[in-house]
């Protein structure tokens, strides 16, 4: 049972406000992510949760108990760092045993627990290797094992996959996901990689310059971004300004003379809204809005097709390779946008 609550945390470094009134709750056993570009303050928040930094204001609660003033060594929180932070002078087994040694666990018990975690993380053959002799992926598995061996109440992951190359990264992402399914450790992942956040976490908090922009279920974050900044930061979007007419629960918008009845309320009270459409919602077809293909980027299984409408608006479509077969630049095509795929956001 471990619930983590971040309550109204602010942090200033000199005159710079790094975090402004950030709050979030991770219920027991859930995996949440803190997503933001570099400089958004996400690592600062992680260091506050871990106890390495004191917040300027606000509290950190673990199972309802205030731990803001508890030093890191008594917080029962495990951390995995981007650069592994394995102790270079100790072999892997000794690295894993470090926390148990600190807790004065008996030697025989240490041996059996180290053996068990080595097996869980498939690191048995590396027990007596030094960290310098391991590959990046192996090091990060060892770092994860070192944190998990203590069965921490909370597991903090600070950009754990960012130092790894593509293939190893996706392997380790699976590994993290598997470990969470098996251990149900309440986890907080800090990352700038939206795919990582969306794939691993059930909930995502988007942070921008120390402010929470949106806190939502992972699917909703992508499908229903709360503002234009989130829409642009998470995934790719097409955005253009459009006049709108409010009709109860529906909204009428116009795209180069074509009217769309969008089955949702327009935000704000302005006559104009920003129409937001994900590239994968747009399809190339035999009828619809006329457009000219202005660029094609084929990426194996998928292709990005840039189209220009008669009023000069550029729309990007993401289609599967077969749908892009035979298309050429300069070709006249028609594009279709399902009205239900349109999101309406207010201008900023």
């Amino acid at each position: 049972m471990a619930q983590l609550e971040v309550r109204n945390i602010s942090f200033s470094f000199g005159a710079t406000k790094v975090l402004r009134d950030v709050s979030m709750i991770i219920p027991d056993g859930e995996f949440h992510a803190l997503l933001g570009p570099s400089g958004s303050g996400k690592t600062t928040l992680l260091r506050i949760v871990a106890g390495f930094l004191k917040p300027t204001a606000g509290r950190i609660l673990l199972n309802g108990k205030d731990i803001t003033d508890v030093p890191p060594e008594r917080r029962d929180i495990g951390i995995v760092f981007q650069q592994y932070a394995l102790f270079p002078h100790l072999n892997i087994a000794a690295n894993l045993a470090f926390g148990l040694n600190m807790r004065k666990v008996r030697k025989t018990q240490i041996a059996s627990r180290v053996g068990k975690i080595l097996e869980l993380m498939r690191l048995e053959e590396y027990a007596s290797r030094m960290p310098g002799q391991l590959s990046g992926g192996q090091k990060q598995r060892a770092a994860l094992a070192r944190a998990l061996i203590l069965n921490p109440a909370i597991l903090l992951l600070d950009e754990p996959l960012s130092a790894l190359d593509r293939k190893i990264r996706s392997e380790l992402r699976e590994e993290l996901s598997r470990v969470h399914r098996e251990t149900h450790t309440t986890s907080l992942l800090v990352t700038h990689d939206q795919e990582e956040a969306l794939m691993l976490a059930s909930n995502v908090v988007v942070l921008e310059r120390g402010v929470v922009r949106q806190s939502d279920f992972a699917e909703r974050l992508y499908a229903e971004p709360s503002d234009l900044w989130v829409a642009s930061f998470v995934g790719r979007t097409n955005q253009f300004r459009s006049a709108c007419k409010r009709q109860g629960e529906q909204t009428l918008v116009t795209v180069v003379g074509h009217e769309f009845v969008v089955p949702r309320r327009a935000p704000g009270a302005d006559e104009y809204v920003v129409v937001v459409v994900r590239p994968e919602e747009i399809s190339i077809s035999d009828g619809g809005i006329p457009a000219v293909v202005s660029g094609i980027a084929r990426m194996g299984a998928t292709a990005r097709i840039m189209t220009t409408l008669s009023d000069g608006t550029t729309l990007e479509a993401l289609v599967l390779a077969p749908a892009a077969r035979g298309l050429e630049c300069g070709q006249n095509v028609y594009i279709q946008i399902p009205p239900s795929a349109i999101r309406l956001l207010i201008e900023q």
Binding site: A50, P71, P72, E73, H89, F98, G99, M130, L150
Partner: protein, 265 residues
């Protein structure tokens, strides 16, 4: 171009090492005046063993350098830890003072320290000599250890803390073992510099108490025995051994615990 460069380097090495080779050669040469033809003998080593003055001076130098090296290692490591942890003006000022100790000629430092000790009514003595030599070698230890500590991943201590180590335990289990090669290296450097330090010892040791540099100086003034060549060869050998140890510490610090799979650090 590269060939000329190579010749220059070779020439420099010859100038550096030929005198050393001559000293070694002469320590095994029969002639007391360093003249040829070369005929092998160990009698200078024998006379070295019989020379109480040289042996006593050597012993004094080793003893003084050991004390100074150890003190410098302890104080220097403490200074280095503080220096890495702080970014205060006092820290920056300390850097300046340490650099000044290296930059100011030992001659000036020696005279200045002697005057201070005279003013304090202490005068020359063993303790002033230990203090003076320690001050002179301290910067080398601090610079070496600071460089090592700054090079360590700062997350290592955080990782140790999150695994249940108090700040003190994290220091003893993580920072100290990782800095140890640098601390030992710094101590050896301090030992060697102190062993050589004629100037400071000349000013601060009690009159008539001679360490090796002072003893050799006084012997060379009155008359030169090839036993000094023998002693120089012994010292040279020891220095080479120390240099090899230093080199190993620098290169092999990561392999220190590569063997064995003890689960205790």
């Amino acid at each position: 171009m590269t060939r000329n460069l190579r010749l220059c380097v070779f020439g420099a090495l010859v100038i550096l090492y030929v005198p050393l080779l001559v000293v070694i050669l002469m320590s095994f040469n029969e002639s007391p005046y360093g003249t040829f033809p070369f005929s092998f003998t160990l009698k200078w080593y024998d006379s070295l063993l019989g020379s109480n003055d040289l042996l006593l001076a050597s012993w004094r130098s080793v003893w003084l350098s050991l004390v100074v090296g150890t003190l410098a290692a302890i104080i220097g490591t403490m200074l280095a830890i503080w220096r890495v942890a702080t970014s205060s003006n006092l820290g920056v000022a300390t850097d300046g003072l340490l650099v000044a100790t290296v930059a100011v000629p030992w001659l000036i430092l020696g005279i200045a320290m002697l005057q201070i000790f005279n003013l304090l009514g202490i005068g020359r003595g063993t303790v002033p000599s230990i203090a003076g030599n320690t001050v002179v070698v301290l910067p080398y230890v601090v610079f070496v250890v600071v460089a090592r500590l700054r090079g360590l991943d700062e997350n290592l201590v955080d990782a140790a803390r999150s695994l249940g180590a108090t700040p003190i335990k994290a220091f003893y289990r993580i920072s100290l073992p990782l800095a140890l090669p640098a601390i030992i290296g710094g101590a050896l450097l301090a030992f060697v510099i102190c062993f050589n330090n004629f100037t400071i010892q000349y000013f601060l040791l009690p009159l008539g108490v001679r360490t090796l540099p002072l003893e050799i100086y006084s012997q060379v003034r009155t008359g030169y025995s090839p036993a000094i060549n023998a002693l120089a060869t012994v010292i040279l050998g020891t220095t080479v051994v120390l240099a090899v140890i230093l080199e190993r510490l620098g290169a092999g610090s990561r392999q220190i615990r590569a063997k064995g799979n003890s689960w205790r650090s």
